[in-house]
Amino acid sequence: MMKRSDLEIKSVEYRKKILKYILGANAGHTGGSLSCIDILNVLYNHVLNVSPQNFTSPTRDRYIQSKGHCVEALFVVLADKGFFPEEHLETLCKYKSHYIGHPTRKVKGVEQNTGALGHGLPIAVGNAIAAKLDKKDYKVYTLMGDGELPEGSNWEAALTAAHYKLDNLCAIVDKNTLQITAPTAEVCNTDPLDEKWKAFGWAVKEVDGHDIEALKAAFDSLPFEPGKPSVIIAHTVKGKGVSFMENNLKWHHGVPSKEEYALAISELDNSMQKAAV
């Protein structure tokens, strides 16, 4: 098991790689990838029973990234886990590359093709029902953005998950509170979010989505209630880790200039030293 500082250092490394490949591709969802990367770090390095070796095993855990546009975060983590050589990411968004702007199963380690919002949870529900029917004990996880919650299919699936008592299912909401147009609360307010999930029959925990220990503790306590699906509302900061990107709408899919990139890397390197102390 990695020490706390090891995972924290990993998060910084992941952030640097996210920016590197977004710069290389001249495209990407920078802010959201930086907001969800700590969640992905904890999932892949602490929670999920998923590896390149067991990826075709019927008993592996399932992770479906509903907020598919933050694919850079997923690709960086999958490369780190050995699903493919990291240099493949140099082809990100290039002609005929499988490493496109949303997850596809052409890339090893990706469970489902996503990108249109509101699709991850229904598929995850299907996975979780299958696990129950087959009496297999794998768990199913899906990461959603708070901006995608107005998609009605999410709430259809939320009802089904509670109806089937899917306590093998965990949704994580990356609640970074910003979406492409404006703050989420101004576009379509979903607060109070915990009460909505509770009303739909889910067990809810809220955590600081950048606190590695808090995330680990939340995942370690799944299911939050027997017989209920669980949702982790992860309070995050869009653009987290780079001061001028944090909470700034410009970075929803902003691509840094070379100068901005250098500044961001320097900030992250400084934080790396802090994390290692």
């Binding site: 019927p58 399932r62 199963r105 469970e111 489902q112 093709n113 996503t114 990108g115 249109a116 509101g118 699709h119 949870l121 229904p122 598929i123 995850a124 529900v125 299907g126 996975n127 979780a128 029902i129 299958a130 696990a131 029917l133 087959d134 009605g152 299919s153 259809e156 699936a157 009802l159 089904t160 109806h163 089937y164």
Partner: protein
């Protein structure tokens, strides 16, 4: 609704009833066969299935997008999934889920559109599916199958269960007479089924319009006009080999479908023929692009001349 249509002295049944019977036979021997319904087990004739195999039916309530997403997730976990819902809702409201979660992600779901076309004729356009061939033809990686009679429905259902890629099955509520007395045809997706042979014209139909096309052929035969009738049960991939052969041997081609004249079987055939230089007198019989008339399915067929007389007239007009 129109229950009298479903009583047949010859023992023929609505295709969706045959679908349910075959699915029960399959489920008895295979625990991985799963039906997913959206409060649609009654109209899908799946009540007996649900009673016999309560662990093999997943009910999501009236939520078609979720129906297809859940079906995709089940299929991704190794289940052989039939997602069953009225075609009008399934292929419109859940089109994005069919496109992304089933076809694009290559999850081998059989999407089953029941009470299709104008089966719910009197209920209005909300309940008609006259767009589904057009919508699904334009989506990569889904086979579009429209069985005509009980034989084709049984074959198509069994074949879909064995097919490890997405399939759309579409049928209606009406009792469907078998098209042949002896059903010994090999049934393969993508290969049209020739019902009668003649060289004066070809009638290429699908689903519940094959029977009136066959009746039209019988009427024309009385006048010395001999027509090939094809049940083109697979709209995509289209049996272009058969189409080329018909263009070479028949003087005219008429297509018939319970679908908009835009984007369906007729336009699929026309596109192939035009692009391969096979120019024959050609007509598409279907539902015109207008505010669709309402009434029973038969009333609507009569209104748009999707009848033995109407189809025979179109053939004669080309000869």
């Amino acid at each position: 609704m129109a229950h009298i249509e479903n009583t047949d002295p010859n023992g023929f049944k609505p295709n969706q009833e045959i679908f349910s019977e075959v699915l029960q036979q399959l489920a008895a021997n295979d625990r991985d066969i799963i039906a997913v319904t959206s409060d649609s087990r009654g109209s899908g004739k799946l009540v007996p299935f649900g009673k016999k195999f309560p662990e093999q039916i997943v009910e999501v309530g009236i939520a078609e997008q979720n129906l297809v997403g859940v079906a995709a997730g089940l299929a991704a976990a190794g289940k052989k999934v039939f997602a069953v819902s009225p075609a009008c809702f399934l292929t419109a409201r859940a089109l994005e889920q069919i496109k992304n979660d089933v076809a694009y992600s290559d999850n081998p779901v059989t999407v089953v559109g029941i009470s299709a076309g104008v089966s719910y004729g009197a209920l209005g356009s909300t309940h008609h599916s006259l767009h589904d061939f057009a919508a699904l033809r334009a989506i990569n990686n889904i086979t579009v199958v429209v069985p005509a009679d009980n034989f084709e429905t049984a074959q198509a259902t069994a074949l879909a269960a064995k097919t490890n890629s997405p399939v759309y099955l579409r049928f209606g509520k009406k009792v469907m007479n078998n098209l042949k007395e002896v059903n010994d045809d090999a049934f393969v997706f993508g290969k049209g089924r020739v019902i009668t042979e003649g060289t004066d014209a070809a009638l290429i139909a699908c689903g519940e319009t094959v029977y009136p096309a066959l009746q039209a052929a019988q009427l024309l035969a009385q006048e010395g006009i001999h027509v090939t009738v094809v049940s083109m049960h697979t709209i995509k991939p289209l049996d272009t080999g058969l189409l080329a052969k018909l263009a070479a041997t028949c003087k005219a081609i008429v297509t018939v479908e319970e679908h908009s004249v835009y984007g369906g079987l007729g336009e699929a055939c026309a596109a192939y023929l035009m692009q391969h230089g096979l120019h024959k007198p050609f007509r598409i019989v279907g539902i015109p692009d207008e505010y669709t008339v309402t009434g029973s399915q038969q009333d609507i067929f009569n209104h748009y001349h999707i009848t033995k007389d109407g189809i025979a007239e179109v053939v004669k007009s080309l000869l």
